[in-house]
């Protein structure tokens, strides 16, 4: 795998083109804002004792109004257009540079059934995009951004949507089958003290690991076989270094990993075309998913699970 710096330098080569698009789109937004302000000023000073002056002002206001409406209509288009170019020029190049066998399709997403199989919490609304697909040591691997929400309607008919999860979901298909379900969840430091009565909970033999995660499994021996000290160390190191929270489910021939990161593929007109930190985060997420999955594949092969 290539290092982050070398990939970043490659992506950086496309920066100027993208920066020009961003500046152009930004200029359009600024012009629309100017038109709105000007329209407001003209319309609020429209009244004049002279009919001629008033007619001129009204004509000016009408002209501004037409430009303003056109500008506002183009606003969302500008944003969408810029994001499309960003994903193509930056994210796609970045992912291809990381691993040539990976394909990135920004408009496709992960099926909601796949997310449900991982047995994370329930939701009312599901949305997914930015699908990355490829192979890892011959095993199919997919990653995509997922957004789940609770939708509540009060007695007055007002609907509110609350985000439950937004981040990156990774799914790998193993050749071996894990018989049962293994869940690695974030440890609820305080509440966990009172709700640790789950019969499937396993006390792991690493105090450090227990600080960050709790493990639930229907087959404790199998779970211990998979969660070797090397794998636990990898998991701890990542969470400590990156401060990114994540959860894992291993079930049947699949491993699901979700990172609670918010959106990692999006950009804005108001941000520089190439954000070093955002790309570094994306690199860390993909690299860790590949590294950990590879470690799990190795353990599963060695232990003949």
């Amino acid at each position: 795998m290539r290092s982050f710096e070398s990939i970043y330098q490659e992506v950086k080569a496309n920066r100027q083109e993208l920066e020009n698009v961003r500046k152009e789109e930004k200029k359009r937004v600024m012009m629309t804002i100017g038109e709105v302000v000007l329209f407001y000023v003209v319309i609020s000073n429209c009244y004049s004792p002279s009919v001629v002056w008033m007619a001129i002002k009204l004509a000016l206001a009408l002209g501004l109004f037409i430009f303003m409406v056109k500008g506002i209509m183009n606003l969302s288009k500008s944003n969408v257009n810029y994001k499309k170019i960003y994903k193509k020029k930056v994210i796609q190049t970045f992912i291809k540079a990381y691993d040539d066998n990976l394909n990135y399709e920004p408009e496709k997403g992960m099926d909601s059934k796949v997310y449900q199989q991982a047995e994370f919490e329930g939701y009312d609304k599901y949305y997914s995009e930015d699908l990355i697909e490829g192979l890892l040591e011959g095993h199919p691997i997919r990653m995509a951004e997922v957004h789940t929400q609770h939708v509540r309607t009060d007695s007055n008919g007002n609907t509110t949507e609350t985000t439950i999860f937004q981040g990156l979901l990774g799914v790998t298909h193993f050749k071996n089958v894990y018989h049962g379900t293994l869940k690695i969840r974030l440890d609820n430091q305080f509440l966990g003290m009172f709700f640790r009565k789950n019969k499937q909970r396993i006390e792991m033999d690493s105090g450090e690991f227990e600080k960050y995660f709790e493990v639930m499994a229907d087959d404790k021996i199998q779970a211990m076989q998979i969660l070797t000290s090397d794998i636990m160390d990898k998991m701890i190191s990542f969470v400590k270094e990156s401060k990114i929270k994540y959860e894992i489910t291993i079930k049947s021939d699949c491993m699901y990993i979700r990172f609670i990161t918010g959106s990692v593929f999006e950009t804005s007109l108001w941000k520089p075309a190439l954000d070093y930190q955002t790309l570094k985060k994306l690199y860390a997420l993909i690299h860790f998913t590949f590294d950990l999955t590879s470690a799990f594949i190795k353990v599963m092969n060695e232990t003949e699970i």
Binding site: I202, M204, D205, I221, M224, Q225, E302, T303, E304
Partner: protein, 176 residues
């Protein structure tokens, strides 16, 4: 008076809950210990096959067979995890040495056996880790305040952690 009754009730409830949780933890250790025993027994049941498979390539097989038979019967009688661990290490050494033998590498029976033994070894290691983890939780519970009061009252004793193979100091040698 009312307050005294409430406080006594709270203390009594805490007492029962704590006592039960310690017993529950101790049972988990027993369960984990029996898992180790199950995996060790399963593994040792394959020893005759292993010896039969590799003996043609051993110079002094009789001494090893005697040593293995002795340790196996000792384990079956005493269920002492330490002697089980020593025997297990001999098994691992035998497999390790056999793996370097080109004749055995091509032997189907040995390869199948090696696969089974490896799988069992992995299960055994997992069972040991589970046991150690249960023991750590139990020992912490009975030695920390305030549960140590109840542990002391009912003579709950600290359990010994299972040594990993690397920590077993016995020198086990097999002649080939």
């Amino acid at each position: 008076m009312g307050i005294l009754v409430i406080v006594s009730a709270i203390v009594l409830v805490w007492f029962f809950l704590t006592y039960n949780s310690i017993v529950m933890r101790r049972n988990k250790i027993k369960q984990a210990k029996s898992s180790i025993d199950v995996y060790l027994t399963q593994r040792f049941d394959l020893i005759p096959n292993l010896v039969a498979c590799v003996k043609g390539y051993m110079k002094h097989e009789q001494s090893v067979i005697t040593q293995v038979t002795m340790l196996r019967s000792d384990y079956q009688q005493t269920k002492n995890l330490k002697s089980g661990a020593t025997l297990n290490k001999i098994c691992n050494n035998m497999i390790g040495l056999a793996e370097n033998n080109p004749h055995l590498k091509a032997n189907d029976q040995f390869l199948k056996l090696q696969k089974s033994l490896r799988k069992m070894e992995s299960q055994l290691q997992a069972a040991r880790r589970l046991y150690n983890s249960e023991v750590t939780v139990y020992n912490t519970k009975i030695t920390t305040v305030p549960t140590n009061l109840i542990a002391h009252l009912f003579h709950f004793k600290e359990e010994e952690l299972f040594e990993t193979e690397a920590e077993i100091k016995e020198n086990i040698e097999i002649d080939w």
